[in-house]
């Protein structure tokens, strides 16, 4: 829209810009994600580092190659880094590296670029990649280990939400372990504390809208209460925290209006409660988000804002 002519620029107003670009937003999210990433590395050791590096590298490389093939400009705006990193954080800690690379490739190539790239994808790419792996390699994708820190020989153990999960000690220490992250599960989902720390930064700087996580988690709490489950356990265990704060809040795949985001959050909560209580899957966060992603355009279609000074025009007037 801008023409440079004799060094004088003709452009539309406004002639100033706030300067908070897509890239800056993305790297702030990456920064916030480093908190749960640190937890993943602390609890699951060097192998976690390999998983994360291979996922991120594959994601960025895939994006680069596809942009070149499509003859589009490759912008290092950080969105591929987020996808790779988020994807890695949803993986079981001992997944074979080549599977991680494949999933990351799928996330970028199919879930994002095939739809037209950043801004056009319907589904959260990281979660789509995870769903792809869950279907192709269901055994590996449900092989969990207990936190082993930097000790390589990990002991397999159930994720807290699984049926065969058993915990002997008292409830308080269970909550404490879940809160700090000393439990089995995906790389990034275990430490509620560090997820909240990262998410707080994003909320304070208004990068993400608090409505989605608050309504999501709130509805899960209410639903768990109705179903007679241990509320605190339901909130802290599994991928709810990282899903609510970092995945459901993805701009591209969530509604644009505040009211739409509230509906989106409530829908997520209802689905997660249903999945956790009535399906064979112990965990329902990732599929809840993917399903609601599909509804986001529909929500945007029907939630229209009423402009300033709105009044209903009478037909016969």
């Amino acid at each position: 829209m801008e023409v440079e002519d004799n060094k004088i620029l003709i452009s539309h107003a406004p002639h100033i810009w706030r300067g908070l670009s897509t890239g800056k937003i993305m790297y702030m999210v990456v920064f916030a994600l480093l908190f749960p990433t640190a937890a993943g590395i602390y609890f699951f050791g060097y192998y976690a580092v390999y998983l994360i590096l291979i996922s991120v590298a594959t994601a960025v490389l895939t994006e680069f190659v596809i942009k070149k093939l499509r003859r589009k400009r490759f912008i290092m705006d950080g969105s591929a880094v987020i996808t790779g990193l988020l994807f890695a954080l949803t993986l079981p800690p001992r997944l074979p590296l080549w599977m991680a690379a494949l999933g990351s490739f799928f996330a970028i190539a199919i879930a994002k670029e095939a739809f037209g790239g950043l801004g056009y994808n319907i589904f959260n790419p990281a979660l789509a990649g995870r769903a792809f792996l869950a279907m192709c390699f269901s055994k590996e994708m449900t092989t969990w280990v207990l936190p082993s820190n930097f000790n390589y020989d990990a002991v397999t153990g159930a994720t807290p939400l699984a049926e065969n999960f058993a915990y002997q000690a008292d409830k308080i220490s269970l909550y404490r372990n879940l809160f700090f992250g000393n439990t089995g599960g995906s790389l990034g989902e275990t430490s509620a504390m560090l997820i909240l720390a990262g998410a707080m930064i994003l909320i304070v700087f208004r990068i993400i809208d608090w409505r989605i996580p608050v309504f999501y988690i709130g509805v899960v709490a209410i639903g768990s209460f109705i179903m007679g489950k241990d509320i605190l356990f339901q909130l802290l265990a599994g991928g709810l925290m990282i899903g609510a704060f970092f995945m459901a809040t993805d701009y591209v795949t969530s509604p644009v209006t505040k009211r739409g985001r509230i509906i989106f959050g409530i829908g997520l909560g209802v689905l997660t409660v249903l999945f956790r209580n009535f399906s064979n899957m112990p965990e329902g966060v990732s599929f809840s988000i993917l399903i609601m992603n599909a509804f986001a355009p529909l929500i945007d279609k029907y939630i229209k804002l009423k402009p300033f000074g709105f009044y209903k025009k009478r037909k016969n007037a």
Binding site: I10, W17, L305, Y311
Partner: protein, 451 residues
């Protein structure tokens, strides 16, 4: 009696870097230009036609163009001299080609005969003036305001006499004087409130007389504390404290937009597609009030205005210039450029129009000349973040306009109420993808107009 009231609550809006670097600089007079270029389209409404021809001798303040339309204002010669030619020029606002008169100065600046309504001696104080205004004939005053070519000086240039004569079925109970000046950089109104406060208040008194409202407010953003204090003192001195209240408003952009200003001060929402008079309010700019005073009391038509010249000029200034003066001479007066630049903007950085050069004349709506360097950045894809929605003062969904204009589905934009957009630029300002949203909106609106 308490005069200054604070309004803490405000609409969402934006807080912008103010950059009001000329706030402390007194208004300076630009020397008489050697020639002026006076274009025909200077206000919203019907276009004028020249009533002078090439070769005619004109005096300062002589009417040179007029229109029969009601929503219009005549145009005057701003210097004395000879009409050397009538040229065609592009209207930078609309892109249309329009006529313009080039007048060469004779250096005399001889004024056209005044026929003042009132005999005012220099010694007349406020109270004398107030008595005079009390006794004026409304129709006569409205005619004087029209004949003087007074239009809104805030930028939109809507003929003032139309605003001041609402249709009889609309009861006006509130007058608001707009001294917000919410755009960054501009300080012209700020200086007028400080230096011409007497004329501003007398202009307000005339408006008050014409509309006899119940309430009169002067809305000023709280970044202009000195103007608030100064006007407060003067209101007390002039014994106007039972008439007018000053409202100190939060500095949020776009506070000075009519609809947001009325909402913030009175709590009333102008219905969409409606005018301020639909909720019983009339808003006038402070500089317009001053021109009303000059038109009615001094019989001086609108031939000059205050322009802030700022940005990367050596010496940013507030200048009082004759309309039709070339922008280049304003920049010369400010010592030329002090740095690299690539855009020349008439108006503020949020809503101003970028010019292709400096050979354009100052018109009635030019409140600022901003010279700045703008970094070119590419437009990226919309990421659906919703910031444009959150920031829109009209509660619209700007991203839908971009989406549908790209698809050339202009009718769809109407379903999202594109006609209510005031083009304040807030959405483009915050857009992370740097999408020129206002550009898309303008494209879409003009496409819709074609249909």
């Amino acid at each position: 009696m308490k005069i200054v009231f604070k309004k803490k609550r405000s609409f969402r809006g934006l807080s912008l870097p103010e950059n009001k670097i000329t706030a402390e600089k007194s208004i300076e007079d630009l020397p008489l230009p050697e020639k002026v270029v006076i274009p025909l389209q200077q206000n919203i409404g019907a276009n004028c036609e020249f009533i002078v021809q090439r070769g005619d001798v004109v005096k300062t303040g002589q009417k040179i163009a007029d229109s029969k339309g009601y929503v219009s204002a005549p145009i005057h010669s701003t210097i004395s001299g000879k009409v050397s030619k009538i040229v065609k020029m592009v209207n930078p606002v609309t892109g249309n080609v329009m006529d313009a008169a080039v007048i060469k100065s004779d250096g005399e600046d001889s004024r056209v005969e005044c026929n003042k309504l009132f005999n005012i001696r220099e010694s007349d104080d406020f109270f004398g003036l107030k008595r005079i205004i009390e006794g004026i004939d409304k129709e006569k005053v409205l005619k004087m305001i029209r004949e003087a070519g007074v239009v809104g000086l805030g930028g939109a240039a809507f003929p003032t006499h139309v605003k001041l004569k609402p249709p009889p079925e609309k009861k006006i109970d509130t007058i608001i004087l707009n001294g917000c000046e919410c755009e960054p950089f501009i300080t012209a109104d700020h200086r007028i409130m400080l230096e011409n406060s007497r004329q501003v208040l007398m202009g307000l008194y005339i408006i008050n007389k014409l509309l006899s409202p119940e309430k009169v407010y002067i809305g000023i953003e709280d970044n202009k504390k000195d103007a608030i204090e100064h006007l407060e003192k003067l209101i007390i001195r002039m014994n106007l404290d039972d008439l007018s209240k000053i409202v100190s408003l939060k500095s949020r952009y776009p506070m000075g937009a009519e609809k947001t200003l009325i909402k913030t001060i009175t709590g009333r929402s102008v219905p969409m597609g409606g005018l301020p008079m639909d909720v019983g309010a009339v808003v006038n700019n402070v500089a317009t009030a001053k021109s009303i005073y000059e038109a009615v009391i001094e019989d001086k038509p609108l031939i000059e205005r205050v322009v802030t010249v700022t940005g990367v000029v050596t010496n940013p200034k507030n200048l009082r210039v004759r309309l039709g003066t070339s922008i280049s001479s304003l920049i010369d007066k400010c010592g030329g450029y002090r740095d690299e630049f690539n855009s020349i903007i008439a108006g503020g950085p949020m809503m101003g129009i970028s010019f292709t050069g400096t050979d354009f004349p100052v018109t009635k709506g030019t409140n600022c000349i901003l010279v700045k360097k703008r970094r070119l950045q590419d437009e990226q894809d919309c990421i659906n973040c919703g910031r444009c929605i959150d920031v829109c003062p009209m509660n619209l969904m700007p991203l839908m306009y971009v989406r549908n204009t790209k698809k050339k589905d202009f009718g769809k934009c109407r379903e999202y109420y594109i006609d209510d957009c005031i083009e304040c630029g807030s959405c483009s300002y915050v857009c992370p993808a740097n999408i020129p949203i206002v550009g898309y909106i303008k494209t879409c609106k003009s496409e819709l107009l074609k249909k």
